[in-house]
């Protein structure tokens, strides 16, 4: 049997007063999985846990069958796009994007070629020489995406990656990410607040409620009624709001 890309087993972690409680999730290779949930429900902590950010926890997180904390960070081949982007503010956009290639000691021509390719996909060619401090929110987001995507990671973890983009740019990004996903066959785990986005992008969707991952379902069945009242409430609340807006 082939090992799933991500396997989380009975995973719990305590951070201050917050607890991520008994998470079980398996994401197969090339799958796109979306995580929905109220603010503060633990979505970012879940993503960081998959990336192996934390050391003190119970249970297990494995990437392709290997415990994530046993793989040296630099060998995990994960792309992580943080909610606040985590750009290196002492480097220009170009240096940010080509950082991973510089670490791999790729030559200048190759870096330039790859950066141009990314710039075209994400339309950020015009800001290559700017520093992160001067960028708009959407430009930062796309820079962070480019920096992660340029290495073709096996696993792409994105925390609300499209939240500060306008509808038409968002639309374009959906298509580009889908295209990248198709070409490179990476596995994607991402967080979003947008039900529509989750359904458009993901194969499956999980809903976080108070540190628990509940109601994992196929994205087509997102609004299906279930026993869990909190989930129904969360989904319905969002649905009503959508209709009103």
């Amino acid at each position: 049997m082939i090992n799933p890309m991500v396997e989380i087993k009975d995973y719990s972690i305590q951070l201050g007063t917050f607890q991520l409680n008994n998470i079980n999730l398996s994401i197969s290779e090339k799958e796109i999985f979306a995580v929905l949930g109220r603010t503060g429900s633990g979505k970012t902590v879940l993503l960081e846990s998959v990336a192996g950010f934390y050391r003190k926890f119970s249970g297990a997180v494995s990437l392709q069958g290997k415990p994530v904390v046993d793989i040296p960070l630099e060998k995990r081949q994960i792309g992580f796009v943080y909610q606040d982007f985590g750009l290196f503010h002492h480097m220009s956009v170009y240096e940010n994007i080509t950082y991973g290639l510089k670490i791999q000691r790729k030559d200048k021509a190759y870096k330039k070629e790859m950066a141009d390719k990314m710039a075209e996909i994400l339309s950020i060619g015009h800001i290559m020489n700017q520093y992160p401090g001067t960028l708009s929110g959407g430009e930062r987001q796309r820079t962070a995406l480019a920096r992660a995507l340029i290495l073709n990671p096996k696993l792409l973890l994105m925390d609300e990656p499209f939240s500060s983009l306008d509808p038409s740019t968002k639309e374009m990004m959906y298509q580009q990410i889908k295209k990248i996903h198709k070409i490179f066959g990476c596995t994607i785990l991402f967080v979003t607040h947008d039900f529509n986005e989750a359904q458009r992008m993901a194969d499956r969707i999980g809903i976080m409620v108070n540190g628990e991952l509940r109601g994992i379902r196929n994205s087509a069945d997102l609004f299906e009624d279930c026993q869990d009242q909190e989930i129904n409430q969360f989904l319905l609340g969002g649905y009503e709001r959508r209709i009103i807006v």
Binding site: A51, F53, P72, L73, E74, R76, I78, G79, F80, Y82, G86, F88, H89, H90, Y99, G100, I103, Q104, Q130, Y131, G133, T134, R147, A148, L151
Partner: protein, 273 residues
């Protein structure tokens, strides 16, 4: 922009008066040295003794600063980025000398280097007691806890998630340190270098205990102030003091200038300053 001229409250006036008193007191101290010392400054440069002291001070302070940095950067990294048993205790031991009088530190140095260990070192050709090596060691020991604390704080302020991202992009721990942690604490490190250097120049207590005050042999600028005053040569003493003051002023200016200069562009640059 309506309230351009705010009326001072009593409390504000009180703080301003206190500030003025502090400023007057400090200025008097500085002026005392400058006014007394300036006339002797010219002749001091022709004095072989003062020239010797300047050279010795610059030399020892530079070397001790280099040693301090070489020891402090790895230590600060270990203290902020690795976990090992009894870390808190280690940190306390490292910072203990911060609260110790330099005279006492000098005394413990003297005890260590006059022991059999010190004698063995001397046999091997490394003289410490009554030697300029001793000056370097005294300055290093006095400065090291400060330097470690500054650099540790600088490393702590670097967002560890940036290092995590750097690692996820393939960088080893060493590469993360070189490309992220170190550049992001660059300003603090430069400031620390200047501070360590000027503190090294001003060191006296520990140096005196370890190497004594021998004219033209272990005579640093501060020792020169002391020696010349003791022998009644106020002029030479004042001249050396003025040179120390000038060096301190330059380093103070440099630290402020580096602190203000922000290499990373920001959209807030007009708002913040």
């Amino acid at each position: 922009m309506k309230e351009r001229f705010s009326v001072f409250s009593f409390f504000e006036i009180f703080t301003i008066i206190i500030t003025i008193i502090v400023i007057i007191f400090t200025s008097v101290l500085i002026l005392a040295i400058v006014l007394k010392g300036l006339p002797y400054l010219g002749q001091a440069f022709y004095s072989e003794e003062v020239r010797f002291a300047v050279k010795l001070s610059l030399y020892t302070a530079s070397i001790s600063t280099i040693i301090c940095m070489a020891l402090a950067i790895p230590t600060a990294y270990a203290l902020t980025r690795t976990s090992f048993p009894f870390k808190k205790v280690c940190q306390m031991i490292i910072e203990l000398p911060l609260s110790m009088p330099y005279l006492v530190l000098g005394l413990s140095l003297l005890i260590v280097f006059s022991s059999d260990f010190g004698k063995a070192l001397k046999e091997l050709g490394f003289k410490v007691v009554f030697d300029k090596n001793g000056i370097i060691i005294a300055q290093t020991v006095v400065n090291l806890p400060y330097v470690i604390r500054f650099i540790r704080t600088a490393f702590q302020e670097v967002d560890e998630r940036l290092e995590f991202i750097s690692g996820s992009l393939g960088a080893t721990k060493w590469e993360r340190f070189i490309t992220i942690t170190l550049p992001l604490s660059k300003n603090a490190i430069i400031t620390t270098i200047i501070l360590a250097w000027s503190r090294g120049l001003g060191e006296f207590g520990a140096t005196l205990m370890l190497v004594g005050a021998t004219r033209m042999k272990t005579e640093t600028l501060t020792t020169s102030v002391y020696l010349n005053l003791a022998t009644g040569d106020t002029g030479a003493s004042m001249a050396s003091a003025t040179i120390i003051l000038i060096i301190s002023l330059i380093s103070l200016f440099l630290t402020n200038w580096i602190g203000r200069k922000n290499p990373q562009e920001s959209r807030m640059k007009d708002v913040n300053q």
